[in-house]
Amino acid sequence: MLGLILNRLAQVAFVLAGLTVLTFLLVRAVPTDPATILAGEGATAEQLATIRERYGFDRPLHEQFAAYVGQLARGDLGISVYTSRPVATDLVQRLPATVELALAALVLAIALGIPMGVLAATSYRRMADHLLRVLSMLGLAVASFWLAIMLQMTLSLNLGWFPLRGRIDTVAEPPPGVTGLFTIDYLLAGQPAMAWQALVHLALPAVTLALPAMATISRFVRSSLIETLQKDFVAYEIAMGYPRRVVIWKYALRNSLSATVTQIGLLVGLLLSGSIVVEAIFSWPGLGDYIYRAIITGDTNPVLSATLLIGVIYAVANILVDVIQALIDPRVRSGR
């Protein structure tokens, strides 16, 4: 088990190194002159040259990269031009909002996707299966931004059931930070009404983000459960009088989760990238919104660092997936 985790950590380090190079090149390859943005409107050629020199934009690319890696190693992520604060500070402040949103979406997607998949598999080629397939196709086909805007128009603007944007009302006081997740922190602070308010704010962005993930999960559960139900041990369990629901929900489902759990690891990537659009539309003050603003304003440092951070989260999620995999399957545990 420990060997497995170390092995994965090594892989993650490798992937992150690659990601650092890639993001750096991508950002520098974009034909915007970072000095122009830093200097602002109407700067003289002389001022631009000073800035270039100060930030090292005039040096060769590989030197810039070396300097950048050196900074990263020291935990110095540079200054955001847009917020004029250290990027590290911004990230720390915004990370919890994204974590709360992505977690909520993931929980929703799993809590609905798995039962939908089981229902589809056990009604294979019957009505419920067809209905669920149409639903999941819709879930995958509908663009997040469109769904987000539709939800805002109907449920927020027309019906007024949900707030339009933000994590809490603009006049409200954020909870004392413990976990950084507002819903939980309000509860911990003994403010259930505020926790409810935070939850209501969370609902629409989380649903928007969860929908494609839910569809993916239900399809994976369906197909692997259909396969598992053909197995000899399922016939044996039924022949030995296990109730059918126990066979399906306990014994067969667990055998079908392996593929699904791997998929959920990949879905974390989908959720994080999806959060850029969703956070931007719902003004959710998280990493996605931060990246979105940074891209729009051509602000390099935040884009690089936030992308790296998302890479780290994604990698950690996938290490977790491997651990869960080993917990589910004793054969993985014993390395067979």
Partner: protein, 329 residues
Amino acid sequence: MADDTAPMLEVDDLSVRIGTLDGQLEVLQQVHLRVMPGQVVGLVGESGCGKSTLVRAVLRILPDSARQTGGAIRFRGTDLATLDERRMSREIRARRIAFIPQDPYLALNPLFTVGQQLMEILRWHGQAQGGGRRQWRARIAALFARVRLPEPEAMLDRFPHQLSGGQRQRVLIAAALLCDPELIVADEPTTALDVTTQQQILVLLRELVEELGVAVLFVTHDFGVVAELCSAVTVMYAGQTVEAGPMTEILHAPQHPYTRRLVECHPDRMRELRGIPGAVPSLVNPPGGCRFHPRCDRRVAGCETRPPQLVDVGGDHAVNCIHVHGGAA
């Protein structure tokens, strides 16, 4: 309690159809079988002749594509078709009819310890024995010892992949004994094992059966095994019962040409059913008349056209052949 002179399991003129891409297969037709209380009955026939389908029909675990199209399966006088899935699983399976499957490598769930899997059986069927988790564990360990598994206590917490094939089959035998069933249906329980292990498992089964007096339907394609273990035999060919009777009669005076070939071509009666020319016919389009006629060495006019019936020849012996009808049917 139960009447010991009435059959425990009676399969009467059973037909089963399975829908496939090739059309409707009449996998079982005119199948007759009888198991008396405490009796060990062998069900023999070449691979593909429908033995497993019959077993599944008895346990009512046929695939969704299969349908019982005729006949009846009575257990202790109750037509099992009248029981719904819920009652089958609550009252019959494991508790009164236990099952030993063919392939111990595939029949156990790889993600659960063998103890967890046997506990699940007791959870749904162990009420009769009473007791809680601890007693159940003790009961399973005691059975593990009885089927001669090493370290029976520790065995409960092993996963299937940690056991050998023979050990897994012993676990499955223990599982079958958990709820003191009246009938054990064993579908080729030794076929997936190597020869030495096969022999050990057979010895164990014979011992247990003698000790417990439980009735057994023992499915095999190996006539030698039947001779060793059973007191009565039912022979199937291409989905039909062709002959049934007491072990000694079938061995010494087989009536159906197919049975005769099975017995004759292996005088030591310890070999598998090989050496009969031809192959089991396709069930999509079975031969008309007697299904065995293309391979039969006693074929006469009428065999191709007139399907014979299973006829009682006295002494619990029944044969499905034109020669027994006296050609009059």
